[in-house]
């Protein structure tokens, strides 16, 4: 069996150890960032019926709802006919903690608030949810990031923080 042992060059062995070490460091980094610092990817929200979403439930009357001072819920409905987010203009006071809920009434869309880590897919049948605290005054465009038809490039809204 001794000649069945794998031949590995000493330099290659060192290269492998360094490579594995680098990958382990990466894995530890994303783990700390995700599970200790709370920089997390989205997890499932509620299931939604896309066929009735525009006529019943919270998405039939989307927009900003104040839960308590400085604490908001924002419902956004994405539609491809025409290509729009409902609503596409939102104003919140600086320092607001906003829980954003987005779903689609038709095809797949994307949702990304520029210059933040808020970035997720918007699918019919599913609710995408993430909470973000707006600490700085300014205009934050939120854009559709998934191809949703010939008007896709015009699909965006703006959150104004004042």
């Amino acid at each position: 069996m001794s000649n069945e042992k794998m031949h590995i060059d000493p330099y290659e062995k060192k290269f492998m150890i360094i490579g594995i070490a680098v990958l382990v460091i990466f894995a530890i980094s994303i783990t700390i960032a995700g599970f200790m610092l709370g920089i997390q990817v989205p997890s499932p929200g509620q299931l939604i019926d896309p066929n009735t979403v525009a006529s019943e439930g919270p998405y039939s009357d989307p927009g900003l709802k104040e839960l308590s001072p400085g604490n908001y819920e924002l419902y956004i409905r994405a539609e491809a006919s025409p290509w729009r987010f409902y609503p596409d203009e939102v104003t919140v006071p600086v320092g607001s903690r906003v829980t954003i809920h987005v779903t689609s009434a038709d095809v797949q869309h994307g949702f990304k608030i520029q210059d933040t880590n808020v970035n997720f897919m918007v699918l019919p049948g599913q609710e995408s949810t993430l909470t973000y605290t707006f600490k700085e005054v300014g205009e934050y465009p939120y854009i559709c990031t998934e191809y949703c038809g010939v008007g896709h490039q015009n699909m965006y809204g703006v959150i104004t923080v004042e």
Partner: protein
């Protein structure tokens, strides 16, 4: 020798290059649109929109060109490497004709702007049912050619008990087994979700809807290993052919085989790293796939070391001295070698970007931005496509017996490398600034972009122009070489010898444990989530046309 196989690979290349030629024409149109020069309105009524062009570009380049080239190339190499004809040539030809039939069926709605749904075909955007039937036939045809390769390999093993198969045939067969395993995802998506839905919506009473999250999950089951289906034939050449072209030897045959086994094992159970921002998949599953994605980076690291060491042997044999001085002694006057070596160097950046994409929460910064096409033009668009161009620079003269114009081909190679670095740098940059992918950026910039976006998008326009010139030169070289060249030439298939007379350990020749491990890992990584998505009672969607 190998008359049938030569004809087979020749016809595959004709179809592959037809796809690449037509698909690539749309590339510069997209790049110019980003830079503010939109030519699409002048293409009406033949091409209806930017997005129809983008769909043709993605499907013809990333699916049609690659699948035809890889299927033909691997069929031929399996036969020549084992030094025996394909065991079932009729099956290979049948596979080819099924692929062609599928291509025609899918091409009609694509060209008529009835299926402008991009190469991901995300439901509930709905193309005509025969578009999906066409795509299914392309995959089934490639399976049939793959079965022919596997049968040939198995017969060789039966006739040569206890022997280690030649590396090229081994690598070709692993690639086709990987393709067979990973396409089970898209086969399930098409046969169980998309076709019943399209038939019902278009021909029936519309009672069958679409579970969108489940369809995405099945698509990406295939979507990531698809990347390795593109890459492994290039690796076959980098390990098994290029060392010979550089007068070197394969540094470690054993580790090369080990890397291929790891790709087979690890490239499928990692698809959720394309779905980090999907609403319907819990973070824990995404995290598991993130860690497994890091694991599949390991065999690429092995490849970097082994291939570089193999080429160094060649560079030194050709008189190269010093720590890095051997690099200039590599055969830079050979366009086949040069294209592939440049592809390899550019792939270092592609691989590094890939680790960033795979890095779970870091992915939030770039997901669905222009960074992503910037990335995959370095991988499929260069590491794979550019290597295939390099391979064709010896393969086409080998088949036709006529020389190509090597000087023009060398210009083509350097222009591709330079153009791609500029083009891809522009897309990476604008993506980091927040520009979405698959979007008419020329319009989007005015909606929500900044001045800096315009500089970056100008880079994509310049790079795209250089790539167009390089692409035209490539087709000139191949067409001139194949049909108009008078210079007779006899080109042999490069076959790299291993450096050492290695005894390959038995566990690297034994398929059964590896295949059991492949399916076990897939079940662990996918089965619970897929069962959950099937049974979660999510509402179904009808079909939509949002591009007509």
């Amino acid at each position: 020798m190998f008359k049938t196989e030569k004809k087979l690979v020749g016809w595959h290349i004709v179809l592959a290059l037809t796809g690449l030629g037509l698909g690539s024409l749309f590339g510069p149109l997209q790049a110019w649109e980003h830079a503010g020069w939109n030519l699409y309105p002048s293409l009406q009524p033949y091409i209806a929109s930017y997005y129809q062009g983008l769909t043709l570009h993605g499907i013809l380049n990333a699916l049609v060109f690659t699948t035809f080239f890889i299927t033909g190339f691997l069929s031929y190499i399996t036969a020549t490497s084992l030094d025996r004809p394909l065991a079932t040539p009729k099956l290979s030809w049948a596979g080819f004709f099924v692929m062609v039939a599928g291509l025609v069926l899918a091409a009609v709605p694509l060209l008529l702007n009835l299926a402008s749904i991009l190469y991901t075909m995300y439901p509930p955007m709905m193309a005509p049912w025969y578009f999906y039937v066409g795509m299914v036939l392309v995959v089934v045809g490639s399976w049939m050619s793959g079965w022919s390769i596997m049968i040939t390999f198995a017969k060789w093993r039966k006739d040569n008990p206890g022997k280690t198969a030649p590396f090229q045939a081994f690598a070709a067969t692993i690639t086709m087994v990987l393709w067979q395993v990973c396409t089970l995802g898209i086969a399930a998506e098409m046969l169980m979700l998309v076709l019943p839905w399209a038939f019902s919506q278009q021909l029936g009473d519309g009672s069958i809807g679409m579970d969108v999250q489940l369809a995405r999950t099945l698509f990406w089951f295939t979507g990531h290993p698809l990347v390795y289906f593109w890459l492994l034939p290039a690796y076959l050449s980098w390990y098994g052919m290029m060392p010979k072209q550089a007068d070197g030897k394969l540094f470690s045959d054993t580790m090369a085989r080990f890397a291929f086994w790891l790709f087979l094992l690890l490239s499928t159970p990692i698809g959720f790293h394309h779905q980090y921002v999907d609403p319907g998949v819990p973070a824990g599953w995404k995290y598991l796939h993130a860690i497994l994605t890091y694991a599949v980076f390991f065999p690429s690291l092995l490849t970097a070391f082994n291939v570089a060491a193999s080429l160094e042997i060649g560079g030194r044999k050709r008189g190269g001295k010093g720590l890095l001085g051997w690099i200039k002694n590599l055969p830079w006057n050979d366009p086949s070698y040069t294209a592939q070596n440049l592809a390899m160097i550019i792939f270092i950046f592609g691989g590094a970007g890939g680790v960033i994409n795979a890095s779970y929460n870091v992915n939030l910064v770039i997901h669905n931005t222009a960074w992503v096409p910037g990335h995959f033009h370095l991988t499929v668009g260069t590491a794979a496509t550019f290597s295939f161009m390099g391979i064709m620079y010896w393969l086409v003269p080998h088949l036709t017996g006529k020389a190509i114009q090597r000087k023009v081909a060398l210009w083509q190679a350097w222009l591709w490398a330079g153009g791609m670095l500029i083009f891809s740098r522009g897309l990476h940059w604008i993506g980091l600034l927040g520009a979405p992918r698959r979007t008419m950026l020329g319009v989007a910039i005015e909606n929500y972009g900044t001045g800096e976006w315009q500089v970056a998008s100008l880079m994509t326009g310049v790079g795209g122009t250089i790539l167009l010139i390089s692409g035209l030169l490539f087709f000139y070289v191949i067409i001139h070489g194949a049909f108009f060249s008078k210079e007779e030439v006899s080109v042999e298939i490069p076959v790299a010898e291993p450096l050492h007379d290695e005894v390959v350990p038995a566990w690297l020749n034994n398929w059964k444990p590896w295949l059991i491990a492949v399916f076990a890992l897939i079940i662990v990584a996918y089965a619970p989530m897929i069962i959950n998505l099937v049974t979660d009672g999510a509402a179904f969607s009808p079909g939509f046309d949002v591009w007509g």
